[in-house]
Symmetry: C2
Subunit: 329 residues, 2 copies
């Protein structure tokens, strides 16, 4: 099992990536190999700094270019072919590695994955599925920001992609698929929501549980939450910030109190870095997208997500599901 | 100052409304009078039960009909003209009261307000503005669920309505108006967001601070947050539920601990019932909408919002702003 890790993606690159890679190697079985993709000299310096100048299961693949915040995502493949994102994806495409992980610009990783790995046959728009912590374990939200202005047929495809992810990576046999909406009844919401409801309700391959309101998400009303990337992105960012805000209120109140309360333990369920990364759903390969602000632990988790995705053969399962659907129609 | 209160709206009607009204009367100046609108016998029984069979500033206006969850909002005025919602709004229209407050079906209160009070000249769609607690005091979110599929011109109108609300009721001299979007730059988001950005940026009457991402809301990045009612509704319901979820995690962890930490005090800033109600923005009158699950304290707060809205002359200010705009175009 070989994973290429973009070493230049996080806000703390390459130190964060190097620490995450070393953590993954020491925690994993012996069959994991990691290829750090980025500026060789920077990575070598950082490895020395972290006291592991070399490791038998760690190699460096040089990529001199770097994607910058101002770069238009769609132009990255053409204009920065030697960037860590494009080089890492090419390694995967050519079969040198089994998966690619990056905390670089989501738009650039997405565009690069589409261009280099290509979408699976029958996929309109690949989607990003992100796990949200809830009272009943994580919920997979698809799409969490890659696609805005989606049509009902595309939202229904997100449901099918998420359904297979939930089976293969969350271990849910018959995932409960819900549609994010502003009311429970089928006729609630805008026209897009109403039409999406009808398409999902007709789809016998899904365990569709109907509309899910904002307040039901956190109660664990579904395993897969289908939504347009606009509202998904707003929700995701809002959730992270609200959790920080509330915990901040609490810390302020507690700073003069003597208590044995371990806040980190209490709020472990809210810790995004446990989840780490989101595999892009619908491309012909394993491309895992991480938050730019990821700590080493999140990078380590993302590498684990990548290896699980490869082992579960999720991409094959998605391809077969789409093939059966297109053949049957 | 006379306020009509729909006594049949909350999940705990009429007990909640009666308690809220009595609380408002004992807290307010002597010039407040409340008219409870609903089934006279039920309200009289409840007043006796709460130990105040009569009050010099409280009257009952009989309304035998009741709006039920299954009733189509748009048909309520025609089919249930003797419901507490329609009767209360008519009292306001005829000048018998200065404002109307209801925790009944939001759709029915909205439709009834539109039909009975009428929209102000130049208003496309009245909007619901809801206060969200943040680190820097409340943010007014417009629209929070009354309107979905809004066009850029309508979103811009929400910004102008919210701008006047923030001046008149939040006491902010030059409200910072932000557009909810999935990135900071003007070209982020879907076409609707991009066009709305351009309209708001051109509007010299607004202090437009640009796009606001999901994570910036809670940091108090703006005073008025403009969004379509679909995402507004999802966010609002999600926020309430996340706060409950996190506080629940904490209570569980604390139940065996000895501590002097007063959670209610710590999280007072998150308490929606302090805000109570949302005036419908853009109708020719003061119609305040409350959550169906409101406790008495929220009803009392909503009555305060109604009297403040009347005293601030917000409706006149909105009418003048629209007139100047239409005259100038």
């Amino acid at each position: 099992m070989r994973v290429a890790l973009d070493a230049m993606g996080t806000d703390g690159a390459p130190a964060t990536e190097v620490a995450g890679a070393l953590g993954a190697l020491s925690d994993s079985e012996d069959d994991l190999e990691i290829v750090l993709v980025g500026r060789r000299s920077l990575i070598e310096d950082e490895l020395r700094r972290q006291g592991v100048p070399s490791h038998p299961r760690l190699t460096i693949h040089d990529a001199p270019d770097r994607v910058l915040p101002g770069d238009a995502p769609a132009a990255v493949v053409r204009r920065k072919p030697e960037s860590s994102i494009v080089v890492g994806l090419r390694l995967h495409k050519e079969g040198a590695v089994d998966a690619f992980v990056s905390a670089g610009s989501t738009g650039a990783v997405m565009a690069g994955s589409l261009f280099v790995l290509r979408p699976l046959e029958g996929v309109d728009r690949p989607a990003v599925g992100t796990l949200l912590p809830t009272a009943r374990g994580p919920v997979l939200m698809v799409d969490s920001g890659a696609n805005v202005d989606c049509k009902p047929a595309q939202l229904a495809q997100f449901a099918r992609l998420g359904n297979i992810y939930a089976q293969d990576l969350m271990g849910v046999k018959r995932p409960r698929v819900g549609l994010l909406n502003i009311g429970e009844e089928p006729e609630k919401g805008d026209e897009r929501a109403q039409e999406t409801y009808r398409v999902l309700a007709r789809d016998g391959s899904l365990n569709f549980v109907g509309n899910v309101e904002g307040r039901e998400i956190i109660r664990g009303a579904c395993d897969v939450l289908v939504c347009d990337g606009f509202v998904g992105n707003v929700l995701l960012k809002f959730y992270e910030s609200v959790a920080h805000f509330i915990i901040g209120l609490l810390k302020d109140a507690m700073k003069d109190l003597e208590t044995t309360l371990d806040l980190e333990e209490v709020f472990r369920v809210l810790d995004y870095s446990e989840y780490g990364g989101a595999p892009l759903l619908g491309v012909n390969g394993v491309s895992v997208i991480c938050h730019g602000g990821s700590p080493p632990k999140a990078i380590q988790s993302a590498i684990r997500v990548a290896t699980q995705t490869v082992r579960s053969r999720m991409v094959d399962h998605i391809a077969k599901e789409l093939e059966a659907r297109n053949g049957g129609e």
